[in-house]
C-alpha cells in the first residue's frame, strides 16, 4: 500500500457545533465534535438514539434545515471547508465526493422509478456520459456490491426487491461516482444478520480496494468491532471517547463506553443479571451541564458539572475526570 496516500486525511471535522432553536430553548445536538478519517480508513461512530451521531453526519453533508443550524467549527474535505461553500458547489460535492447511505434505503430510492433510471440519473448528474455508457457502469456497480443477476435487477422497481437488495442498490449508487468518502447511517440495522454479514464484508473489501474512506454510524459496538479501524463514542451530542477500535474496546476509559461493553450479553455470565447502566439518556432539552453522562455515572462527583478536558494517550482520547483504570474496563453497579 502506498504509504503516502494512506496518510492523507480525507475528512477532518474540527469542533463542529450544530443547534436546534425550539420553543423551549436552544438544543445542542452536536457539541464540539472533532475527528478525522484517512484514505481507505473506516471510522465507526457509536451512540444510542439521541446521542447526535446522525446529526453529525447530516451536518457534514449540510443537510440541516431550520430550525437546525450549524453554528461553529470546520468540516475540511481535502483541506477545503465545506461549511463555507455556496450551496451550488456543495451540491456538486454531495454524491460526487461524499456519498451517504441511510438506514432506510427508501430514503435513497424513488419508489416510482426503475433502478436503472435512478442509477443513470445519479451518474449523469455529476459526469457527462452517454446513456449506454452510464448503463454499463451501473451494471458493473451492481455486480460489485454482490447483487445477483444485475441485468434483471436494473429493470426492477424498488418494491420488487427485498430490503437487503435495496440497500445494496443504495450502496451501489453511493459508489457510482467514486466518492472520496462514504457516510453510512445505520445501513444494516434493519437487515437480517446474514445479510448484514455479507454487506459488512463487501463494504470492507470495497474500501480497501478503492481507497474510499468510510464513516459507519451505528448503535451496535459489535458491528464496529469487526469492521472499523477507529471508533468515536458519542453521548448527548459530544464525543466522550475515541481511538483505535482495539484499544477502546479492550481498554475503555470513559464509564459510558465501559458500561456499554459491560452490558453486552456476551460479556456477562449466562443467567446472571446483566450489568446495566442506570437511568436513560436525557433528551437534548434536559442535558446536564458539563459531562452529559454524569446523571447516570456511578463515579460522578461535583467536578463533573464542568466539561472534562480532552485527555490523550497516543490515538486514544477521552473526556472524563474519573476514567476507568481496570484492564477489563468492567463497570460496577
Amino acid at each position: 500500500m502506498n504509504s503516502d496516500l494512506s496518510e492523507q486525511t480525507v475528512l477532518s471535522v474540527e469542533h463542529l457545533q450544530m443547534q436546534f432553536a425550539t420553543r423551549g430553548g436552544v438544543l445542542k445536538a452536536v457539541d464540539d465534535v472533532s475527528f478525522s478519517v484517512r484514505r481507505g480508513e473506516i471510522l465507526g461512530i457509536v451512540g444510542e438514539s439521541g446521542s447526535g451521531k446522525s446529526m453529525t453526519a447530516y451536518s457534514i453533508m449540510r443537510l440541516i434545515d431550520a430550525p437546525g443550524k450549524i453554528v461553529g467549527g470546520r468540516v475540511l474535505l481535502d483541506g477545503q471547508n465545506l461549511l463555507e461553500l455556496p450551496e451550488e458547489q456543495m451540491r456538486r460535492v454531495r454524491g460526487k465526493r461524499i456519498a451517504m447511505i441511510f438506514q432506510d434505503p427508501m430514503m435513497t430510492l424513488n419508489p416510482v422509478l426503475r433502478i436503472d433510471t435512478q442509477m443513470i440519473e445519479a451518474l449523469r448528474a455529476h459526469q457527462s456520459l452517454g446513456k449506454a455508457q452510464a448503463r454499463a457502469m451501473a451494471r458493473d456497480a451492481l455486480a460489485r456490491v454482490g447483487m445477483s443477476a444485475p441485468d434483471e435487477r436494473l429493470l426492477a422497481y424498488p418494491h420488487q426487491l427485498s430490503g437487503g437488495m435495496r440497500q445494496r442498490v443504495a450502496i451501489a449508487i453511493a459508489l457510482l461516482n467514486r466518492p472520496e468518502l462514504i457516510i453510512c447511517d445505520e445501513p444494516t440495522t434493519a437487515l437480517d444478520v446474514t445479510i448484514q454479514g455479507q454487506i459488512l464484508n463487501e463494504m470492507q473489501t470495497l474500501c480497501r480496494e478503492s481507497g474510499t474512506a468510510l464513516i459507519w454510524i451505528t448503535h451496535d459496538l459489535a458491528v464496529v468491532a469487526g469492521l472499523a479501524d477507529k471508533v468515536c463514542v458519542m453521548y448527548g451530542g459530544k464525543i466522550v471517547e475515541s481511538g483505535a477500535v482495539q484499544q477502546v474496546l479492550e481498554q475503555p476509559r470513559h464509564p459510558y463506553t465501559g458500561g456499554l461493553i459491560a452490558s453486552s450479553p456476551s460479556r456477562n455470565r449466562r443467567g446472571q443479571p446483566l450489568r446495566q447502566i442506570a437511568g436513560a439518556m436525557p433528551s437534548l432539552a434536559e442535558l446536564p451541564s458539563g459531562c452529559p453522562f454524569r446523571t447516570r455515572c456511578p463515579h460522578a462527583t461535583a467536578i463533573c458539572a464542568t466539561m472534562p478536558p480532552v485527555e490523550l494517550q497516543g490515538q486514544h482520547m477521552w473526556r472524563c475526570f474519573h476514567p476507568l483504570q481496570q484492564t477489563t474496563g468492567a463497570m460496577h453497579g
Binding site: M165, D192, I195, A225, G226, P265, G271, Q276
Partner: protein, 336 residues
C-alpha cells in the same frame, strides 16, 4: 421426570396465508377463458411442533421470513393455525368457542416489538394497564388506579406518571408499560416478540434484567422470539432455530452455541457480530432467504447451503435427535 403436561403445546401447526383472488380478477379470467388461478399462498409456518414446560425460557431464533413471529402469534392465540392443534395446560383451545377461548388463554400474553405502536395513544397509561383486569373481573373498577400504580412500580416506573399518555414517555419506558399491561392479567406464559429489538443498547440490558427478575418473582414462563443470538444465549434455557417456516434445529442453549449442527445455525453464529475485535475475514453465507411465495423444494436451505447434496432438493429432512436433547433437520446427519 416431570409428568405434568407441558404448559403450552403446539402439535404440527401450520399457517397458510392465502391471497384470495379478487372478484374482478375472477370475472376477467372467466371472460378470457383462463384457468382459475389457485390462490397465492404463503406457508408461513410449516408443520411445527413445540412444547414449553412451566418455568422454562424457550428462545426462538430466526431471520425475517422465518415465520417466528407468526408462530409466536399462533402460540398466543392471535392467529388461528391452518392445521395442527394448540394445547394450553393439556386442553385443546381451538375447538372452543371464541368467548371461552378468550377466557382460557388469558394466561398467555404477548409483549410486542414496537414500543410506539403497541400502546393506544388515546388512553392514559393507567387505563392501558388497568382496563383488561377490570373487564375480566379480576379486580373491581375502583381498585383500578391502585392496581395499575402497583404494576408500574413493579416494572420500574414511577407510579405518579400513571395518568400520562404514551407519547410522553421514552421508548424504554413504553416497553415497560407494555410489560405492565401484560402482567396485569396475571399471565403464566409471556411471549416476547422481539421485545427488546427496538430499544437502545443500554435500555435493552435493563429490560432483559427486568424479564429475568419477573421470572423469578412471578414464576413466569417465556417464549422469547429474537433475531439477536447474544440476547437469546443469555436468557434462554432452550433454543429453537427457524428457517422459512420450519424448525431446523432445537437444543439446550449451551449445546446449540457450543456444538451447532445445522449449517444454517452455523452460518448464523458466524455472521453474528461480536465484541471480539477481529477483522472480518470469514466467508459469509451467500444469497438471500428465498421468498416464501416460491420456497425451494424439500430442504428450504439447500439453495444457500455450502454442504448441499442432491438428496437435499428431493426429500424434506426430518427433525431428528442427533445428540441427547439436541435435534437437527439435515441430511448430513443421515450419514452418521
Amino acid at each position: 421426570m416431570d409428568k405434568t403436561p407441558p404448559l403450552l403445546e403446539l402439535c404440527e401447526v401450520s399457517k397458510r396465508f392465502a391471497q384470495a383472488t379478487d372478484f374482478a380478477d375472477r370475472i376477467v379470467r372467466r371472460l378470457r377463458r383462463q384457468e382459475a388461478q389457485a390462490a397465492q399462498a404463503v406457508l408461513a409456518v410449516d408443520c411445527v411442533s413445540l412444547s414449553i414446560r412451566r418455568g422454562e425460557v424457550v428462545g426462538l431464533v430466526g431471520e425475517s421470513g422465518s415465520g417466528k413471529s407468526t408462530l409466536g402469534r399462533i402460540a398466543a392465540g392471535l392467529h388461528a393455525p391452518s392445521s395442527g392443534t394448540r394445547r394450553w395446560k393439556g386442553e385443546a383451545l381451538d375447538a372452543l368457542r371464541a368467548g371461552e377461548r378468550r377466557r382460557k388463554q388469558l394466561g398467555i400474553q404477548m409483549i410486542f416489538q414496537d414500543p410506539y405502536a403497541s400502546l393506544n395513544p388515546r388512553l392514559r397509561v393507567q387505563d392501558i394497564v388497568g382496563e383488561a383486569p377490570v373487564a375480566h373481573g379480576l379486580i373491581a373498577a375502583k381498585q383500578q388506579a391502585e392496581y395499575a400504580a402497583d404494576l408500574l412500580q413493579r416494572v420500574g416506573l414511577d407510579a405518579a406518571l400513571a395518568r400520562r399518555f404514551p407519547h410522553q414517555f421514552s421508548g424504554g419506558q413504553r416497553a415497560r408499560i407494555g410489560i405492565a399491561r401484560a402482567l396485569a392479567v396475571q399471565p403464566e406464559l409471556l411471549i416476547c416478540d422481539e421485545a427488546v429489538a427496538a430499544l437502545d443498547v443500554s435500555i435493552q440490558a435493563q429490560v432483559l434484567n427486568l424479564f429475568m427478575q419477573l421470572r423469578d418473582e412471578l414464576q413466569l414462563t417465556y417464549l422469547f422470539i429474537s433475531h439477536d443470538l447474544g440476547v437469546v444465549r443469555h436468557i434462554a434455557d432452550r433454543v429453537l432455530v427457524m428457517y422459512l417456516g420450519r424448525i431446523v434445529e432445537a437444543a439446550s442453549t449451551e449445546d446449540l452455541f457450543a456444538r451447532p449442527q445445522h449449517p444454517y445455525t452455523v452460518a448464523l453464529l458466524e455472521a453474528a457480530p461480536t465484541l471480539a475485535v477481529k477483522k472480518i475475514d470469514f466467508h459469509p453465507l451467500q444469497g438471500e432467504m428465498p421468498s416464501p411465495l416460491r420456497p425451494p423444494s424439500a430442504c428450504a436451505f439447500h439453495t444457500r447451503c455450502p454442504h448441499a447434496m442432491p438428496v437435499c432438493a428431493e426429500r424434506v429432512p426430518e427433525l431428528k435427535e442427533v445428540a441427547p436433547g439436541h435435534f437437527s433437520a439435515c441430511h448430513l446427519d443421515d450419514q452418521a
